[in-house]
Amino acid sequence: MRLIARYAVELEEAYEVVTVWDEQTDRVRVPKSDPHIETLSRTHPAAIWFERKMHDDFGIIIDNAFDNRPLVHQERFPRGLHPMQKHFTQTAIEPAEYLPYKYEAIGGDGVFEVAVGPIHAGIIEPGHFQFSQAGEDMLHQEVRHFYKYRAVEKMLEGKTLQEAKAIIERISGNESVAYQTAWRDIVLQAAKSELPEANRKYHALLLELERIIHHLTDLGFIPNDAGFGAALAFCSKLSEEARRQMQCLTGHRFGFGAISFDEVQIDTEALRVYLDDLEKEMMFFEEWITDIPSLWDRFDTTGILAHHKALKYDTVGVVARASGVAQDRRDNDFYRTHGFVLHTEKSGDVAARFKQRLAEVKNAIVMMRALLTETTESVVLNEVHGGDYTAYAESSLGELFMNIIVKDGIIERFFVRDPSFMNWQALHLMMPGNIIADFPLINKSCDLSYAGNDL
């Protein structure tokens, strides 16, 4: 089974540990007086961050875990505080005495460590990477994140679903439409309302446009990290144009506020012309870029994530598909009728992730044509019912999982698992056998979200 998420919910006398698999959901109650749960990390390494986070959030002790270090709470975080507990209501904390974090390190003669971050040399989100090096060769890398931790889960408790919207759509800016789509599905479930087909099509169209913008950005930045700047100039032009389409359609360059239950008129003719142009540009780009041997020399066999490891680490999205894992939340009737084709690559290297994005842009163009619709209908929502609601979306990065428990009309517990949360944990697998100079290239080929990961 594939692990999707693992998190805790506070009840009166107990914590409920929820483990979401692709085939089932397990719920185990542990008493608050002595909260213990057995680790899953021995069979599912991706459980490690979920479990370390669960300890930071609620103080639940993970039995037989081999990694008990704090995850979200860093060197200066007050010890013994578990802020997701309901009785914790402070809106400010004082830094505690600095307690060094013990990084994973490989010892040995001549092996040294390189620390990178949290602030990186560029316009990038903050995070820390710790490398164990034998000369140029990377022996191991540890990814350490949560510098951007805003406590979004806590922030959303006590709000109505409508009030939460503006925050949810800003959890990870470049996946905003995906987050809004998941929110929409939860609202529809809670209000027991139906979404007209035209609205579903329009929202799916926006999600594909978001994917195009994101992939185009990467299709430029990946070659740029291999020293081929012309591709960045070309693709950043295309991604700017795609962003302007998003602005035209939704009134916002990132589509904030785009998924709503209101009626929308769409200029399908202009969009059709745009898609035709983009398709031509992509054809040119593919022919051009495929023809540059020195570039593929850097891409091929760099940063390989083997198929069996992609499965073992429960990876998702572009990263998983580039390693031959046929997994995509769009793999259903609605999307297939609108032109979706599940594409995978085999080699699991930078080249595969690059080609995966290329294929997904081309498919997104086909889908957007099929999803064109003149107008959506306004939907009047019924009253919100309490309950435990789950939704998924396939963001430009991969599978997004969202769960909201609604009680008396307000959010009792909000949990979201960004695709990056899974894939960050598999990043180190791509490093051994590569030189440190290739790290930026490998990292960019995955292009994961820090904000969505850290919450």
Binding site: A92, P95, I119, I123, Y147, Y149, G173, R253
Partner: protein, 168 residues
């Protein structure tokens, strides 16, 4: 390669393409003049994300695309705070990032300025105060100028930088 050069000649220079309005062109001109006057032709910016949603960074990256091409105006994003004149700060100043932001600021040689980017550091984005959020940034740093927006679009960032340069 021939295909590429054909394409390049046909595309021409986008930065001056007619769909960029005149106002933006004028803005760029005055920005260039201000940079020249006040920073001897080159303004070095160190961008620091203190807990953003990443859209503000995406718009800063867009400043380098052929439509905006910020470097033409003598404005550079630099890799080290020690090479910077200005810290451009986005995000909510999270509890976990605060010490690192202050550290980066300390590394910038005098004279130095902090410009905040986007609604987050001013606590004007929809996010609310939690124990993990230390924004507004003005409580921690001497903020010389603020560029509002959620996120500010690239032309708004250019405009904002101009306003900052006029102010100092």
């Amino acid at each position: 390669m021939i295909r590429f050069w054909n394409k390049r000649l046909k595309t021409g220079i986008l930065t001056e393409a007619p769909d960029i309005d005149e106002e933006l062109a004028a803005l760029r001109k005055s920005l260039k003049d201000e940079v020249k006057k006040k920073f001897a032709g080159s303004l070095a910016i160190r961008m620091v994300d203190s807990g953003s949603c990443n859209a503000c960074e995406a718009e800063c990256n867009a400043l380098s695309n052929p439509y905006y091409d910020l470097e033409r105006l003598g404005i550079y994003f630099v890799a080290s705070p020690r090479h910077a004149d200005v810290m451009l700060l986005s995000g909510l100043m999270t509890f976990n990032m605060t010490p690192h932001v202050l550290d980066a600021y300390a590394q910038i040689p005098e004279p130095k300025w902090v410009v905040t980017l986007g609604d987050c550091p001013a606590m004007q984005a929809p996010f609310e105060k939690t124990f993990a959020v230390n924004a507004p940034a003005t409580e921690h740093l001497p903020v010389a100028h603020h560029i509002p927006g959620c996120p500010p679009a690239p032309d708004a960032i250019i405009r904002g930088l101009l306003a900052f340069l006029k102010k100092i």
